[in-house]
């Protein structure tokens, strides 16, 4: 393989699409994290340790997601795995909408200490979807890097875009969304956004790859 052509996504549209989904992914992660505090509050309160549980679980999920996403990008990287991340993340968000209350009721009945109650709840509800969303970042780097000499710049750009998305997701959710919508409505918005990401990648990268092959 030539050093100059490592990238999977070569057209301008596909590169823009990768940056765009990295932004949305960052936005959705922080939106879900902020709502997490509200999801847990009726059972475990909104004390500092509840936020501690949520933030710790999100950080842990993301860190493992980065690790595994990076590993997956080593073997046969392509748009299909990338699309699968978004579809899987959307699917894994559904239990937060449908099963949060029964899950928390069971934990509330069995764990007296709200610190560990909130930690277990956060693990059960958020570990899987956030872990998958964490895989998006390193994989995006792999899709965009054209050459080794460029990799730092691409990684920087992706961190910039996804963290900017996170910042806006945090502000948007805490300043406006919670006043306009119910928690579950915002969660459905997150699911829709993840599905839109999958579609966007399928339309740009998916087409391009089949074009490259022929």
């Amino acid at each position: 393989m030539a050093q100059a052509d490592l990238s999977i996504s070569t057209t301008a549209a596909s590169r823009l699409a990768v940056l765009c989904v990295a932004f949305i992914n960052g936005f959705v992660i922080m939106s879900i994290e902020l709502l997490g505090g509200r999801v847990l509050a009726p059972y475990f309160g909104s004390s500092v340790h509840v936020w501690g549980s949520i933030i710790a679980v999100f950080m842990l999920s993301l860190s493992l997601g980065y690790l595994w996403g990076g590993r997956l990008s080593l073997t046969n990287p392509g748009p299909n795995t990338f699309i699968a991340f978004f579809l899987l993340a959307a699917l894994l968000c559904l239990p937060i909408i449908f099963f949060a209350d029964p899950v928390m009721t069971q934990i509330f009945l069995n764990v007296e200490d709200p610190r560990y109650g909130s930690l277990i709840t956060a693990m059960l509800l958020y570990f899987a979807p956030i872990c998958v969303m964490g895989m998006v970042s390193p994989y995006s780097v792999r899709l965009l890097v054209l050459s080794q000499s460029e990799s730092g710049g691409v990684a920087g750009m992706l961190y910039f875009v996804s963290t900017l998305g996170s910042a806006l997701g945090t502000l948007g959710t805490s300043f406006y969304f919670v006043m306009w919508f119910e928690i579950n409505q915002v969660m459905w918005g997150c699911v829709a956004a993840l599905l839109a990401c999958a579609l966007m990648i399928a339309l740009t990268l998916g087409k391009q790859q089949s074009g490259v092959r022929t």
Binding site: P42, G45, S46, S47, P114
Partner: protein, 296 residues
């Protein structure tokens, strides 16, 4: 011109806050998980503050010369629920502050069981050290989020005759203590003639939202406001409210006992109202929709 006016207002505010903090002497500062708790003394009053930068954000004050006398109107007003249940055996107070309400309850009802909920250990420490707050065998403070305690107490089938909700500080409102689901959990804790007394807000958009939420949970409630106070007290029961006219006799019976605390309960029945003076089309606050801090 506009900018000049604004600048001078800003300057005046600054000068005022400097003057206020100069008169106040901070005698203690307790570090907390949540915010620092300050104890100040000024003009014969000792106060607990959560935030000194905004001028007067006193949580609790005691009169050092006459410790029995209650300083704040809303504290006095929270005893209005006694008109509906004059002899509670089991009392729950959510939000400790300086511990004034539970201490007065202890003096009034020496045989009653009192549970106090306070999320912040630092507040408990300060209340004990500086505000003469004391626990005893039938009076305990639980360092816990009120929602967690109330949910669990409901599952355990506990009942209270008198519940005071006073867990709100001026600038931050715990949103999970202001939802329909929370109030329903509170309602399950009430004994058949149990009363809930909530110290809440009289101003801002939140007034409408909060009123319809209490209405959704309890039906008709007594709304208790006094001129010149930003607070209002909501008094609700599990059962139907007695007519206002029936409150005069309990007021006469309680008058002597409440006088040492500077509570003139004879004035109260006339100030209670069930007439909605809020926008009844406001949206009910729920666990799914609770932007209380954005409405403030």
């Amino acid at each position: 011109m506009m900018a000049y006016t604004r600048l001078s207002i800003l300057f005046l505010m600054l000068a005022f806050s400097v003057a206020v903090s100069a008169q106040r002497e901070v005698i203690h500062e307790e570090r907390s998980q949540y915010r620092n708790v300050l104890v100040t003394e000024f003009n014969g009053q000792r106060c607990m503050l959560f935030n000194i930068h905004r001028g007067d954000m006193n949580q609790t004050c005691i009169d050092l010369r006459n410790p029995q006398r209650l300083v704040f109107n809303y504290t006095k007003m929270s005893f209005a629920g006694l008109l509906l249940n004059p002899d509670p055996d089991n009392i729950l107070v959510a939000g400790l502050g300086g511990g004034t309400i539970p201490m007065v309850m202890r003096e009034l009802f020496p045989e009653a069981t009192i549970d106090v909920l306070e999320v912040d250990q630092a507040v408990v420490n300060v209340a004990k050290e500086f505000f003469n707050y004391e626990e005893d065998q039938r009076h305990q403070v639980h360092v816990v989020d009120a929602r967690v305690f109330i949910k669990r107490a409901g599952l355990q089938g506990r009942q209270y005759d008198y519940i005071v909700l006073d867990a709100f500080s001026g600038e931050y409102i715990p949103e999970h203590l202001l939802t329909l689901e929370f109030l329903q959990e509170v309602k399950t804790l009430l004994s058949d003639d149990g009363v809930v007394v909530a110290n809440t807000f009289a101003s801002s958009q939140l007034y409408d939202y909060e009123s319809v939420t209490y209405q959704a949970a309890f039906g008709e409630f007594y709304n208790f406001k006094r001129a010149g106070s930003g607070n209002r007290i909501i008094i609700a029961m599990k059962s139907e409210l007695p007519p206002q006219g029936e409150l005069r006799q309990p007021a006469r019976d309680l008058y002597e006992r409440l006088l040492p605390y500077d509570i003139n309960i004879l004035e109260y029945p006339a100030l209670l109202s069930t007439r909605p003076d809020w926008d009844e089309s406001a949206r009910v606050l729920t666990d799914q929709f609770s932007p209380a801090n954005l409405l403030n």
